[in-house]
Symmetry: C2
Subunit: 191 residues, 2 copies
DNA sequence: CCCAAGTGAGACATCTTTGTCTCACATTGG
DNA sequence: CCAATGTGAGACAAAGATGTCTCACTTGGG
């Protein structure tokens, strides 16, 4: 270990802890710090050395979720090509983070403080704008508001992640099911 | 009060307590028994006289949610007429219970016991069957499985309830937004 | 009026979770 | 080999939630 206090393996460990915490908390949102530590294969003491407390852990998960969302938004290049294909790219890019998103989406405790993380506002803005763009180009219908389509996308991502983890939907079908339902709906169009 | 121990006002009180508990827990799923009692306008002691403990309260909410779901399923007469209209009737009938459903849907603690309430299985069966009927009559596409459509309906109901309570969607648009997205999707069909 | 039932307020012990601490052990680099 | 760092295990107190109890008060029927 360096004399200068470099967090040599700490960074990797921290990310690994966050990942396993996200997996566990997605399945059981009331898991204790001890359960989180065990799920990560470390002791509760070490967990506390990484995150000051449960609140700090949840905040770190929130930051991770926001970062992954924004990375997916960048990858998807939402402002290129038809809006429908942009949404498709977005769902495909965000799929690995869907479980974490589902946890954060239902963690309403995050939003009761007066100052909520601005990251969500930026993400909401980017999502609504792609739906708005689709409406302006005539690709999307205008009677469903961009705000509602954004909200519905969150809900479908959460439902999809949950359905896959419960075995009710095949993991390979995740993106297809969500995109087809969100864009095309259940009704047959080639009647 | 009768000498025979009739629960004259108890029944009404109990229902009122359940309603306010559902409203509060939908908004803050970690509310304490004291908060639940205050929200219902009663003391914690009286709350405990109605429900043996927190677990019993959540179970009662689950039973209430199941009962309201099944009532809505009966009201909607899912096996009559086109499947799309049946789904529309269902969402309209289930709208008042959407908040409660959203709470129960995210209360994954309900499903970690080995024996989960059979009521959900019955409801799932009735929901999937209406989607299956729509597929068999050619009204719905067949590449989205009935199980996924059922799951997505739950997710959209939860998203809708949340969006309304946050003011992002007008309460009057609840049914329309959900039904149109679920059945028709975001894409314009009259291209 | 009187009594029974229900209620609210509060005290109380208990349990769980949390946050902090110490100490022994393992690993790694010099 | 040795020193430094990180870790696991466990003890510990503090905080919060829960479940139970008592007691005084109110209300409604007889």
């Amino acid at each position: 270990m360096s004399h200068l206090g470099y967090p040599c393996l700490m960074a990797l460990d921290r990310d690994h802890v966050l990942r396993s915490a996200a997996t566990l908390l997605t399945r059981k949102s009331t898991a204790t710090m001890d359960e989180v530590a065990k799920a990560a294969g470390i002791s509760r003491a070490t967990l506390h050395r990484h995150f000051a407390g449960r609140d700090a852990l949840v905040r770190a998960l929130e930051a991770l979720g926001i970062a992954e969302c924004e990375a997916a938004l960048d990858t998807a290049r939402l402002d290129e090509g038809p809006a429908g294909e942009a949404v498709h790219r977005l769902v495909r890019a965000i799929e690995p983070a869907a479980g974490l998103l589902a946890f954060l989406y239902t963690e309403n405790q995050l939003f009761e403080g007066e100052e909520q993380n601005q990251g969500w506002a930026r993400i909401d803005e980017r999502l609504t704008s792609v739906f708005r763009r689709g409406q302006e180009t005539g690709e999307f219908r205008i009677d469903l508001t961009p705000a509602w389509l954004t909200e519905a996308l969150y809900g479908l991502l959460a439902s999809g992640a949950w359905a896959v983890s419960e075995g009710r939907v095949a993991a390979n079908d995740f993106t297809y099911m969500i995109v087809e339902l969100l864009l095309g709906g259940a009704r047959r169009t080639t009647a």
